[in-house]
């Protein structure tokens, strides 16, 4: 009987009901974030350590080259700021996926997935909620960075918002796709080693690609085909009120692919999660 109710089709839902669902999921994610003060602080401390300590030692590293979107010479701190913004989103995306593994182990996932709304909608809401949290973290980071004399043009704070939403969605969807393949919480360390570090280091977050190319042409191509590079560049250009069309296309394309992948993977009848009963493994 109850199964019938679950399967009663969502076609009849009004927009208001969809919104209630969205608000519920975003609110839960927001509350979880706010209540975990350590998570908020650690999300800020990580990029700030890079900015204050790592960048301080590399002030002269960039050498002489003015690359778009910059119109003059910049300090290393200014260069890595967009990379650190994207890093916040990368960690957040993976953290959301971690929370999904946790939810699945604890059984909370069932509560979400038995909702009468279509699965794609639930997962999109979850993605949006994670992205909203990451955008908040990025703005908090930008606020602190401003006191460190990283002062993009005022309009940049506005133009970077859509770029952050898109890159947040891409990285969140990637995390979701990965989490569908992880059966236990302990496996998350592997995600750190095999996803976060390679993605972050083999990108334009820390060094411009021309500098990477000087060192190793092979690594240059690895960086060039890394979607994270394009998330960084999209954010970098948007922060200065400019558009990087190639990065936009890559990020939008990857977002679509990862989202579709995640939705298929979370479909119990077809996807990867079929491999084991949710939360049931011991």
């Amino acid at each position: 009987m109850s199964l019938n109710v679950v399967n009663a089709q969502p076609a009849g839902f009004s927009i208001a009901q969809y919104l209630t669902c969205l608000t519920g999921i975003v609110w839960r994610e927001g509350l979880r974030f706010v209540h975990q003060r350590e998570r908020f602080i650690s999300a800020l401390v990580r990029p700030l350590v890079w900015l204050f300590i790592f960048a301080a030692g590399f002030r002269q590293v960039l050498g002489i080259s003015i690359i778009p979107p910059y119109e003059t010479y910049i300090l290393y701190e200014v260069y890595i700021t967009p990379g650190l913004m994207a890093m916040i989103q990368l960690f957040n995306g993976m953290q959301s996926s971690l929370s999904m593994v946790y939810d699945r182990e604890m059984g909370n996932m069932r509560t979400l997935l038995v909702s009468p709304f279509p699965r794609w909608y639930l997962l999109s809401c979850k993605l949006l909620a994670g992205t909203a949290v990451s955008v908040l973290q990025v703005y908090a980071f930008l606020l602190i960075a401003w006191f460190w004399e990283i002062e993009p043009p005022p309009i940049g704070y506005l133009t970077v918002l859509p770029a952050l939403v898109l890159s947040g969605l891409m990285l969140g969807a990637l995390g979701m796709l990965i989490s569908s393949g992880i059966r236990q919480l302990e496996n998350f360390a592997g995600v750190m080693n095999f996803v976060i570090f390679p993605m972050f280091f083999a990108s334009s977050a820390l060094y411009p690609l021309w500098r990477v190319q000087e060192g190793s042409p092979m690594l240059y191509y690895v960086c060039l085909f890394n979607p994270f590079t394009h998330a960084v560049e999209l954010v970098r250009f948007a922060l200065y009120g400019k558009m990087n069309w190639v990065s936009l296309a890559v990020v939008a394309g990857c977002t679509a692919v990862f989202m579709i992948g995640a939705m298929l993977a979370y479909d119990p009848s077809r996807g990867l999660s079929r491999r084991g009963p949710a939360g049931g493994e011991t």
Binding site: R59, Q60, I64, I66, E71, T72, Y73, I74, L75, E151
Partner: protein, 323 residues
């Protein structure tokens, strides 16, 4: 209503762009033997003028009709006609002229001849040489006091600032400064004379009445060797509040509170920053970066570098006036 709107639009269209408030900057390119002309509205090079060999010191004449450029290896000063933007005439300097300055009326030009230990006086109207003053070895920096009574010349090897009476053309005082003095600049009220010492790494603040150094400004940039900090060009805002000092291979311009003589911050520019000039409205300061072949633009109010413009080979001096 529609007609009025249309008429207004047409009027706007016919009026064209707003009246030009643009300034024009001339940059001497020491190695390229050219002068780059920069439009300060578009921040682009609009023309490159071929000049003599090794152009360095460059300045608009007071009437704005010519740009004078010292072409050291041709032992002369060339006059670029600002209307045609071509070299129109030459002035008779001594051997290897480097920097020069005009009196307020724009009648006499004082030229430091690097290889001759002299300052040459040139009558700008007649375009003839009217005399020489013997100074120290390798004269370079030139400044004139706001009241026009004192001419200052710094000699790179003698390490002195020579005070020359503009009436008698006699040296009235010599002030010892740190090694290799490159440039001299008066505060607009005449209360202080600033002299940069390239090798010494300092800027000496001199009391022009007492002829004594009252303060030495030093620079420290984390991560840079002391030897890389070599002060050269100095520009002080007309209100005398802020001074900018180009620090050569440190690739930075120091911002100094001109009242307290404290360094407030360092602005990152291109490689081997050398000389600089304000736009006539005082909004921007343009600095030449010799080794990176470009000119950086500093927003004076915001104290930020906003743009860098590519010019010719080894940019050295710069002068700006209304278009």
């Amino acid at each position: 209503m529609w007609v009025r709107c249309l008429a207004f639009a047409i009027a706007l269209w016919l009026a064209g762009p707003l009246p030009a408030r643009a300034f024009i900057a001339y940059v001497s390119n020491e190695k390229g033997n050219t002068v780059s002309v920069i439009d300060t509205d578009k921040w682009t090079v609009t023309k490159t003028i071929k000049v003599g060999q090794r152009p360095r010191g460059i300045e608009f004449t007071v009437d704005g009709k010519f740009v004078l450029v010292a072409v050291g290896d041709d032992d002369t000063i060339q006059m670029i006609d600002t209307a045609t933007q071509e070299v129109a005439d030459t002035l008779p300097s001594g051997p290897d002229p480097e920097l020069f300055i005009q009196d307020k009326a724009g009648k006499i030009l004082y030229v430091a001849n690097e290889n001759d230990n002299t300052v040459t006086l040139i009558d700008l109207e007649k375009r003839t040489r009217i005399g020489d003053v013997q100074v120290g070895v390798e004269p370079e920096g030139m400044a004139i006091s706001p009241d026009g009574k004192l001419l200052i010349n710094t000699s790179e090897t003698t390490n002195m600032a020579h005070f020359i009476d503009t009436q008698t053309h006699q040296i009235v005082a010599n002030v010892l400064v740190d090694s290799r003095p490159r440039f001299a600049e008066f505060k607009r009220d005449g209360s202080e004379l600033w002299v940069s010492s390239e090798i010494g790494g300092t800027v000496s603040v001199i009391d022009p009445a007492k002829h004594v150094v009252t303060k030495k400004i030093t620079f420290e940039i984390p991560g840079l060797r002391k030897e890389a900090i070599q002060p050269v060009g100095i520009s002080i805002t007309p209100d005398g509040k802020i001074a900018f000092v180009a620090l050569g291979p440190a690739n930075r311009v120091a911002v100094i509170d001109a009242a307290t003589h404290q360094v407030e911050k360092y602005l990152l520019v291109g490689q081997r920053v050398w000389h600089m000039a304000f736009t006539p409205d005082g909004k921007y300061l343009l600095v030449t970066n010799g080794l990176s072949n470009d000119v950086s633009v500093i927003d004076v109010a915001a104290l930020k570098v906003i743009k860098t413009v590519q010019v010719g080979e080894l940019p050295w001096g710069i002068t700006i006036a209304k278009q």
